[in-house]
């Protein structure tokens, strides 16, 4: 849309033309925006009526619709994007007016730049965050946009009804993939229950666990188990807890002290229960020392310093690092290496793996952390789930290969199928 008085336009960065949202009250005052002459000048210069500086555009193809894939209580307004370089659109702001029933008055719900092309009327952005300003599901709302700088100009009225969705269609492909994988896991678990024993390649780090505990026993020194700094909601921490169980059993069998310092209080409570149960299971509940599983600090580096201190003072013969580790990984692993302990680590944090590889004797890479409990327990059902993991990987590689071929030949249908919104 072309401006009528193009000679007046200094935009797009023209602060004189573009008013800040909220300044409309000032603009509505008589004489606002005019170059008002002084008293002396008024005697010599007659007042000149100010023409509109620019023909500000109304939204084109304005429509209102329910926001898709949301929880409800939201309607969005869409209008066609103005072409790049449209100076008039660049300096125009709209006031969003909303009305619920036929008898209701129009109320202002927000302001938006014309060039944005969209506006979401959501309870999150509701005025004063008061429920009476919320968009309610099931009710019809009418909307119109008014140009703030030229209040006489208003758009046509559009209407929509808000509703919450029960399925996020953006996640459909994720849902299908997850269901496929779940089916694969259940299938292999069933097969493991009734079928022949499955072969799983040995992982040196897991095979070394028994030797590492045995070494500590021979040296008469404790075993240190560090479950990372993750919270219990993290799968790596849960995996650390499941690995702790068979290690605690071995330690209990050998009668070696086991130290478990924790960063998270919830993880501490669970670790305590896991170790206690392990001692009970091997028939040595009296050997369990409650104080050896303790909470150290909730702060990352205070925890790292505390664990490093334990390593230097207690000189554990074996250090296990399993779970979620971040910047403290190398502090822990290098201190352990300096004390001469045998160290086995496992984490799903890709960025920390090189540090563990450099400083530890054995490292479980990524998914091996999750597989460790299955290896250590030898439970065929758990081992069966590992097979599902392998087949899922084959499936992913096949999909990657087909995506590669589809990309080469320009088969957009297959590529779109794989696209995530």
């Amino acid at each position: 849309m072309l401006p009528v008085y193009a000679q007046d336009v200094k935009a797009p960065d023209s602060g004189a033309l573009e008013k800040e949202p909220g300044s409309e009250e000032k603009a509505d005052l008589p004489g606002a925006g005019l170059d008002v002459p002084s008293a002396d000048e008024a005697q010599t210069t007659p007042p000149i009526p100010s023409p509109p500086l620019i023909d500000r555009p109304l939204p084109l193809n304005l429509r209102a619709e329910d926001v898709p894939n949301d929880g409800g209580w939201a309607i969005r307004l869409l209008w066609d994007k103005f072409p790049d370089g449209d100076i008039a659109a660049a300096v125009t702001n709209y006031e969003v007016l909303r009305k619920r029933g036929a008898g209701d008055d129009w109320e202002k719900v927000g302001e938006i730049k014309a060039e944005s092309g969209k506006y979401a009327d959501s309870h999150i952005l509701a005025k004063d965050n008061k429920p009476e300003h919320f968009v309610i599901d099931g009710a019809q709302y009418s909307y119109k946009l008014r140009i703030i700088e030229d209040p006489a100009k208003e758009s046509e009225i559009v209407s929509a009804v808000s509703e919450g969705q029960w399925l996020n269609t953006d996640h459909t492909i994720v849902l299908i993939a997850t269901l496929l994988y779940v089916a694969l896991v259940v299938f292999f678990i069933q097969r493991a229950k009734h079928g022949p024993k499955m072969y799983v390649r040995p992982i040196p780090g897991i095979n070394a666990v028994e030797d590492a505990v045995g070494r500590a026993t021979e040296m008469g020194k404790p075993v240190l188990y560090v479950p990372g700094i993750g919270v219990i909601e993290e799968i790596a921490t849960l995996a650390a807890m499941t690995i702790l169980s068979p290690i605690a059993e071995k330690v209990a069998e050998y009668g070696t002290p086991l130290l478990v310092p924790n960063r998270d209080p919830v993880v501490y409570s669970i670790a305590q229960e896991v170790v206690r149960q392990a001692y009970i299971k091997v028939g040595k509940p009296d050997a369990y020392v409650d104080d050896n599983i303790f909470f150290l600090s909730g702060r990352q580096f205070a925890y790292a310093a505390g664990v490093a201190g334990i390593m230097m003072r207690e000189k554990p013969a074996t250090n296990f690092f399993f779970g979620a580790f971040y910047a403290e990984s190398l502090i822990l692993a290098e201190t352990g290496a300096a004390t001469g302990a045998i160290q086995i680590a496992g984490t799903d944090q890709v960025t920390q793996l090189p540090f563990f590889i450099a400083a530890c004797d054995y490292t479980l890479l990524g998914e091996e952390l999750y597989a460790a409990s299955a290896y250590l327990s030898g439970d065929p059902i758990l081992v069966g789930s590992l097979k599902a993991l392998d087949y899922a990987k084959i499936l992913i590689f096949a999909l990657m290969g087909s995506g590669f071929v589809a990309g080469l030949f320009g088969w957009s249908g297959i590529l779109n199928l794989m696209k995530l919104n």
Binding site: P354, G366, Y370
Partner: protein, 207 residues
Amino acid sequence: MWKKTIPVSIAFAVGLFMALQFFVPHRHVQSVVEEINRWTSLIWCAALILGTLSLAKHLSLKIKAKKEGWGYAVIAMISMIATTVIGFYTGIEQGTLFMRIYEFILAPLEATTFSLLAFYIASAAFRAFRARNAEATLLLIAAILIMIGRVPIGHAISEVIPQISDFILDYPNTAAKRGIMMGVGLGMISTALKIILGIERGYLGDK
């Protein structure tokens, strides 16, 4: 029953719900998720009391038995009690003594511990980059090329070095990282599924 059946049932119900909520955006479902998250915070706070008592007990036993490094335990104990009392007394707003302790004691101490990483990286690199065998030699060469390629002297020596450095980071390195991450993603789903279905009960102290 109390030790296994009920915890496993709760894990199944909540785990399944939390997995499904990712696909269900409706506010009725999301409000339950918010409520569960609030509960998580409450559980964490309750567990923090247990954790603090555990730490106090651990430190007291160490002081009582005069174990090696018991002096540090005394400092830790005094710091813990003093910070708690000051926090309750002065509040935790900006400018209070509690916040000054945080800004001028705790934060610098943590930054110092973090800074030690520089020395640890040097010692770990020394160990990792020893050319003991063919693989270690390959690692050493790759590391040298990347390190030189990331600093101005690399450009000064040859424009090819930064290109090799970028190639190693963008292709072999990224491919390996993505391979591990894919395995991690699948492993996470697999572990979560085993926990939800009650197959994996190690976190309950049960196999």
